[in-house]
C-alpha cells in the first residue's frame, strides 16, 4: 500500500533524507526509529504530500504523491508531529471540520465523530476549547482527526509522545486493533513501543536507512543476543575462577563481571558470532557445582542495537546496512 523509492530531500546545502526506500503492506505496522534530526519527520512529510521530494518517488495505494496529491491525501490519515489543531475550537468543532473536508456524509457525521471520540476517550472534553486541554488530550484529538475517515493508510509522527503510561498503553492497543485492515507507519524514539506494536522496524540515521527488519531480527544483531546472564550471591564463588573456566569454553567470546549488581554478583557471558551457548554454559555450571542463583538467556536489546548503529562515527552502520 505504501511504496517509497529512493526518496531524497535537500534543504539548501543540507540533505535531510538521502535515498530512503521501503514498502508497507496492509496489516503491517512499521516503526520508524532514529535519533532526533535523522530524517524521520521529513520522510513522513514527503509520504503525506506536505513536502515535495527533491528526488525519488512515493506511491500510496497506487497513486503517486507528486502526480495525484489529493487522491493520496484522501487515502491517508496523518498525525503530524506535535498533533497540531486549532486552539480556539473545541474537539467537536474541529472534528466536524475534518469530517466535512474528508467528505464524511452529513447524516453519518455525528455518529462517526462520537464513535472516534470514544475510541480515543475524548468524550468528556468534546465541548471544551482545545487550548485548555492537557497535552495528552491534545494528542488524542490529533489521533481522532487522523482516524476519522477510517483511512487505509495511517501515518503517525510520535503518536504517544507526551502521554502518561496508561494513555500510551491505550494508544498502542488502539493501533493494534486497527492494524489488520490498515498499513500503519509510526515514528517513535521509545524502543519498547516498537517491540509492543510494530511488525517491522526501520532505523534511519543521517537520512539513510541503516537497518530494516522485524523487531526480533533487529534484536538478533545485538551483541547481547544469546548472551547468558548468571547471578551469584556475593562471596559465594571465586569470581576469577568462574570467569577463567567460562572463558575456556569453545563458544564463549568474553565474560563481563559486575561485582555488585544490586546486591548480587552478575556475569554476562558473550558468545562468539551470537551463537547459542546456553546449554554449554549450563552444563559447565552443573559440572562445577556453581551456586548459580539465576541463569537467563538474553534475546538482545533494541536500544543497544540502536545505539551501536546510530552512535556518531559508528562503523557498524556500514556493516548492518549490508
Amino acid at each position: 500500500m505504501i511504496e517509497i523509492n529512493g526518496l531524497v530531500k535537500r534543504f539548501g546545502a543540507l540533505t535531510a533524507v538521502n535515498g530512503v526506500s521501503f514498502s508497507v503492506k496492509r496489516g503491517e505496522v512499521l516503526g520508524f526509529l532514529g535519533p532526533n534530526g535523522a530524517g524521520k519527520s521529513t520522510t513522513m512529510k514527503m509520504l503525506t504530500g506536505y513536502l515535495l521530494p527533491t528526488a525519488g518517488r512515493a506511491v500510496v495505494c497506487g497513486h503517486d504523491v507528486e502526480q495525484e496529491p489529493i487522491a493520496v491525501k484522501e487515502k491517508i490519515g496523518y498525525l503530524p508531529e506535535g498533533a497540531p489543531a486549532y486552539p480556539d475550537m473545541t474537539p467537536w468543532e474541529f472534528l466536524n471540520f475534518i469530517a466535512q473536508v474528508r467528505g464524511v456524509e452529513r447524516k453519518r457525521r455525528r455518529s462517526r465523530i462520537e464513535e472516534v471520540a470514544s475510541m480515543v476517550h475524548l468524550e468528556g472534553v468534546m465541548r471544551q476549547t482545545i487550548e485548555t486541554l492537557s497535552k495528552g488530550y491534545k494528542r488524542r484529538v490529533g489521533l481522532a482527526q487522523a482516524i476519522l475517515h477510517d483511512p487505509e493508510v495511517l501515518v503517525m509522527d510520535e503518536p504517544t509522545d507526551g502521554l502518561d503510561p496508561n494513555q500510551k498503553f491505550e494508544v498502542r492497543a488502539l493501533i493494534q486493533r486497527m492494524s489488520p485492515t490498515k498499513a500503519i507507519v509510526l515514528s517513535t524514539h521509545i524502543l519498547e513501543e516498537v517491540e509492543a506494536v510494530c511488525t517491522r522496524a526501520i532505523i534511519i540515521d543521517r537520512g539513510r536507512v541503516v537497518a530494516d527488519g522485524t523487531p526480533s531480527e533487529l534484536c538478533a544483531r545485538s551483541r547481547l543476543h544469546h548472551a547468558v546472564r548468571m547471578t551469584f550471591k556475593i562471596g559465594s564463588v571465586d569470581v576469577g575462577l568462574v570467569r577463567a573456566d567460562l572463558q575456556r569454553l569453545g563458544g564463549v567470546d568474553s565474560v563481563e563481571v559486575n561485582p555488585n549488581d544490586r546486591g548480587r554478583v552478575s556475569m554476562i557471558v558473550y558468545p562468539k558470532d551470537r551463537a547459542s551457548i546456553a546449554s554449554e554454559v549450563g552444563a559447565q555450571a552443573r559440572a562445577r557445582g556453581w551456586p548459580v542463583e539465576e541463569l537467563q538467556v538474553e534475546l538482545g536489546r533494541l536500544d543497544e542495537v540502536f545505539r551501536t548503529i546510530t552512535a556518531p562515527g559508528s562503523l557498524d552502520a556500514q556493516e548492518v546496512r549490508s
Partner: protein
Amino acid sequence: MNGALRKMWAVFKRELGGYFLTPVAYVFIVIFLLLCGVFTFSESMGGFFERGQADLRTFFGFHPWLYLFLVPAVSMRLWAEERKQGTLELLMTLPIPLWAAVAGKFMAAWVFCGIALVLTFPMVITVNYLGDPDNGIILAAYLGSWLMAGGFLAIGSLVSALTRNQVIAFVGTVVACLGFLLAGFGPVTEVLNSWAPQTLIDAITGFSFFTRFDSISKGVIDLRDLLFFATLILVCLFGTAVMVDAKKAG
C-alpha cells in the same frame, strides 16, 4: 470539482467561525463602527451635518484610511497563524486543493469585512430619514468599499503567507496598502508632477485605490475599476498560493 468546492466551503466556514471564537471579531467591528461614526459626524473631519447634503460621501471618504489599519488586523492571521500553530501542515495534508484553501480563507475574511460594512446600515437609515438621497449611489459606494476591502485583504493574505509572525504581517500589509493608497493621493501626485514623465504618473495613479474608489463612490461603476480590483485580488491570491507552497519547509 464539486468536491473541491465542498472543501472550500468547509475551510470558509471554519475560518469565518474562527473570527467569532475570539474577541478579535467583536473588537474589530466595534472599533470600525465607532470610527466610522466619529469621522463622519465630527465637525472638524467629516462635517456630515455642516454640509447639509443627504448623501454618504463623507462616510465613504474615510473608508480607505480606516481599512488601512483595520483590514491588516483581519488579514494578518490568515497564514502566519497557521504556520505558527503548526496547523499549516495539517491543512496541507488534508485532501484540499491549495487554491481552495487560499480562496476559502480569503472569502471568509472578505465576508467578515462585509458583515462589518453591513452593520453600518444605520447611516443609510439616517440619511434617508434626514433627506432624500440617491440610494443607488449609496449601494454602488458600498460595493466599491467592499471591493476595496477585498483588495486590501488580498494584499494582506499575500504578506501573511510570507511570515510566521503576525506583527510583521500586520506592519508589512499596512505599508503595502499605504503604497497603493498614496499612489493616487493628491499631494503625492503633485510631487511626482514636478519631475516624473506623464506616462509614469498615469501608471502609478492607475494602481491607486483612491481614484478607483472615488469614482465608484460617486455611483459610477466602471468595468475597468471592477476589473482592477478583481485582477488585484486574483494576482495576490495566486501569489499567496505560490508563497504558501514555497515556504512550507521553513
